[in-house]
């Protein structure tokens, strides 16, 4: 579960409000899609959740753990995939996965089983012994994704996870997201792809200029607009200047 309570974050000595008094709960077993125009505050919110940024105000809890009071406990149940796959290029894919396994404490048998499984699914078995430097952008995205899946976390936070993935990998990714939540996990992700949000998400939040302007199931969002239009139309109307 992810809980945000009155969370705010600003830049330039408070002149730019990136996230403004955000309150939101993502329940276990739920896929939550986070939409918003460029610069709306999606990535800032995600970075606040995973502890990359410190909120100016408010409380964030992961599975009931306050991330400020016990950040290590919160991090040990969370994994994160950033919007750009900036990973240790001088390590091999396997060294990177071992690093993640070592810091999360994944037992050897489980580690081997999961690595084999996800490498097969994302078609990286033949490349994993090579330096990440030799990987294409999509392959780097996949290795970061596998690293995020390796600890089998209860909470996954993904920033634009589909970018750079080929159609097959994107399909596997969506399957993985459903499986993760079917097992009681929580998944929070941002996207610009409306179809993905429409088809995949249990609930959707729309953020604009740092404020959560709407959230709920697709049906609930459609109810905001009496004509019952597509998510894209709803999004465009809600985020219009």
């Amino acid at each position: 579960m992810i809980e945000l309570e009155n969370v705010s974050k600003s830049y330039n000595n408070g002149r730019v409000k990136a996230v403004d008094d955000l309150t939101l709960t993502v329940r276990p077993g739920e896929i939550f899609g986070f939409l918003g125009p460029n610069g709306a505050g999606k990535t800032t919110t995600i970075k606040l959740i995973v502890g990359l940024l410190r909120p100016d105000a408010g409380t964030i809890r992961i599975d009931g753990i306050d991330i400020r009071k016990d950040p290590i406990a919160a991090k040990s149940v969370t994994t994160y995939v950033p919007d750009t796959p900036a990973v240790y290029e001088r390590l091999t894919g396997l060294e990177y996965l071992n690093f993640i396994g070592d810091v999360y404490g994944v037992p050897k048998a489980e580690r081997l089983r999961r690595i084999e499984h996800w490498l097969e699914i994302f078609d990286l078995s033949a490349a994993v012994a090579n330096p990440i430097q030799s990987f294409s952008h999509g392959m780097k995205q996949k290795i970061v994704l596998i690293a995020a899946l390796l600890p089998a976390p209860r909470v996954m936070v993904l920033d634009e996870p589909m970018v750079g993935l080929d159609a097959r990998s994107a399909h596997h990714m969506k399957e993985m997201m459903r499986t993760h939540c079917a097992g009681g996990g929580t998944l929070f992700f941002s996207t610009h792809i409306m179809e993905v949000a429409e088809k995949l998400c249990d609930r959707i939040g729309i953020i604009d200029r740092g404020r959560l302007i709407a959230h709920g199931t697709l049906e609930e969002l459609r109810a905001i607009d009496r004509e019952g239009q597509s998510l894209e139309k709803i999004f465009l109307e809600l985020t219009a200047e």
Binding site: V50, K75, Y80, R90, L91, L94, N98, V103, Y104, L112
Partner: protein, 562 residues
């Protein structure tokens, strides 16, 4: 031309915008006021050296002026400045030309390879003005004041300084551009690059070796006069590397000349080498650069057994982070050259410089080496400890421990490992590099200088304790204001202001300790007492600095936003 100047302007903004011209960034938090104290300790420790340098210039001027040879001081300073740039410019040039991340943005732009390379060259030239300033500017200024020089001298000095880095940097650049064209083939680019770098460094050392092997007289006033006089060693070196002579003649013309011819020669050779670099850039630069970042990989599926053998087990965060540090440091050529290879090479360079080429112990500038060969065991122990500490810690491994993570720091923020554990792993890595330097220095002291092995062995705990303290100090400085936004790995280690601050603090501390030990010895305290006291002090200092490092780790990891 317009495009070239725009590239230079952008390059300068990127180069200086992040650190040097951001005084506010020195302290991100008022609680880090102690950092200012540390810098002040460094400056206090180094100020005697600077004062000594200025006094030395005044003394030499006074010695040479009656003989009419005072202009040789200028030759020496210009020669030393250009030599410094020749040796250390190599790293700058290599990383600026070939390892800047902005090259991915520049190459697709409608600009020529020559414009890209020469704009980067210009930025390095500006950097070198700063590098050479401490060595050369005091001499130029002191000469002007002592000789009551007129406007012509000061204008000439400014012009001479403006051209100062061009010749050595252009020479280094031509070598690097040629080397990289050769290196950028096949799969072993990194290894070839490191080998090429070592060959160039060996060539620079060979040059130093040759310069030192030129005949010199024994110490004393007369020797100094002979050193600087007409037909003396400075003139001989100048004859082998004439730009310093041309620059001197431009500032202090020989009788019957205006100095303009010498200046035109000095400036003309600079411009000529710049033109040669332009041609080399057109012909070779992109052929050496393009594809450099590509890494060919064998598509080889690991068998289940091989995969199982390579998959680790358990929760071992400190070990995992230590291995990450080790691998990234040793597999990134710029980091490797400045880390492990530095600690291996520094003892060799130190001893070569000190011993000179004559075979005897002629390096009177390095009194430590004299101490190592002393018959007094306490002097050997203290001298060895100082030598080993300098060799182990005179590198940027600890003071760039956090900066080196750069854009990857987000991973250190999200993994479930406490900042204290992360810092412990980084400390172990930096300390291991220092330990390697200490071992190499110990070996060199015994094998080359003939220091007594027993004394060197006794000195080792002192050196290790000092290295632990200096490693913690370096890491504290870097953790206080890590430089995480860099486009060029060189920025993280060689051009990182934290490395300079740590160097100042380390040097200051070692100088203060050396002065204290000398004073205690002068007061009649025995060798055993001094060594024992120093051991207790260093053990206490290393404990305190490491504890402080762990204490600030939690706060700083939370504050640093990635």
């Amino acid at each position: 031309m317009k495009k070239f100047f725009r590239l230079v302007r952008v390059g300068l903004r990127v180069n200086f915008g992040l650190s040097l011209l951001r005084p506010k960034a020195l302290l991100e938090n008022k609680r880090d006021f102690w950092l200012i104290v540390l810098i002040l300790v460094g400056i206090a420790g180094l100020s005697p050296v600077l004062l000594y340098y200025l006094k030395g210039i005044r003394f030499l001027y006074g010695l040479l002026a009656p003989l009419g040879q005072q202009a040789a001081l200028l030759t020496l300073a210009i020669l030393a400045g250009q030599f410094l740039i020749l040796v250390f410019g190599f790293y700058y040039v290599l990383s600026a030309f070939y390892f800047s991340r902005d090259l991915d943005l520049l190459v697709p732009l409608p600009v020529t390879p020559a414009q890209v390379l020469l704009s980067k060259f210009s930025v390095v030239v500006v950097n070198e003005y700063l590098t050479a300033s401490l060595l050369v500017v005091p001499v130029l200024a002191a000469y002007g004041f002592h000789s009551r020089a007129g406007l012509r001298y000061w204008a000439g000095a400014a012009l001479v300084y403006l051209f100062l880095p061009v010749i050595p940097l252009a020479v280094v650049s031509l070598l690097v551009v040629g080397m990289m064209r050769f290196v950028n083939v096949g799969r072993k680019k990194d290894a070839l690059m490191i080998a090429g770098s070592l060959v160039l460094m060996a060539a620079a050392l060979g040059l130093q070796f040759w310069l030192r092997s030129l005949p010199a007289s024994g110490p004393g006033r007369q020797a100094l006069v002979a050193f600087f006089s007409e037909g003396g060693i400075i003139r001989k070196i100048g004859a082998s590397f004439p730009p310093s002579i041309w620059a001197t003649r431009a500032l202090v013309p020989e009788a019957g000349t205006t100095g303009l011819g010498s200046f035109l020669l000095y400036a003309g050779v600079s411009v000529g080498l710049f033109a040669a670099l332009f041609l080399a850039a057109r012909a070779l630069f992109y052929r050496g650069l393009l594809g450099l970042g590509e890494v060919s990989a064998r598509k080889r599926r690991l068998s289940r057994e091989a995969l199982s053998a390579r998959v680790s087990s358990g929760r071992r965060p400190v070990r995992a982070i230590f291995l990450r540090e080790l691998r990234i440091m040793n597999r990134t050529p710029i980091f490797l050259l400045n880390g492990v290879l530095s600690v291996v090479l520094i003892p060799v360079i130190f001893i070569l410089f000190a011993r000179g080429g004559g075979g005897g112990s002629s390096g009177d500038a390095f009194q430590i080496i004299l101490l190592l060969a002393s018959s007094n065991p306490a002097a050997v122990i203290l001298g060895s400890a100082l030598f080993m500490t300098i060799c182990g810690c005179l590198n940027g491994t600890a003071s760039s421990a956090f900066s080196r993570e750069g854009a990857h720091f987000w991973m250190s923020k999200v993994i479930p490992v406490s900042p204290a554990d992360q810092v412990k792993a980084k400390f172990l890595h930096s300390f291991a590099v220092a330990g390697l330097g200490i071992l190499v220095a110990a070996g060199a002291a015994v094998a080359v200088i003939g220091a007594k092995p027993g004394c060197v062995l006794l000195a080792m705990p002192l050196a290790l304790a000092a290295a632990a303290a200096l490693t913690s100090v370096g890491m504290i400085i870097d953790l206080s204001r890590p430089l995480l936004k860099w486009t060029n790995p060189q920025k993280a280690i060689k051009q990182n202001f934290n490395v300079l601050i740590a160097f100042l603090a380390d040097a200051g501390l070692l100088i203060i300790l050396t002065l204290a030990v000398t004073a205690l010895y002068g007061e009649g305290l025995g060798g055993a007492g001094i060594i024992g006291g120093l051991a207790v002090f260093l053990a206490g200092l290393s404990f305190l600095s490491f504890s402080f490092l762990l204490r600030i780790a939690g706060r700083r990891y939370a504050e640093i936003e990635a």
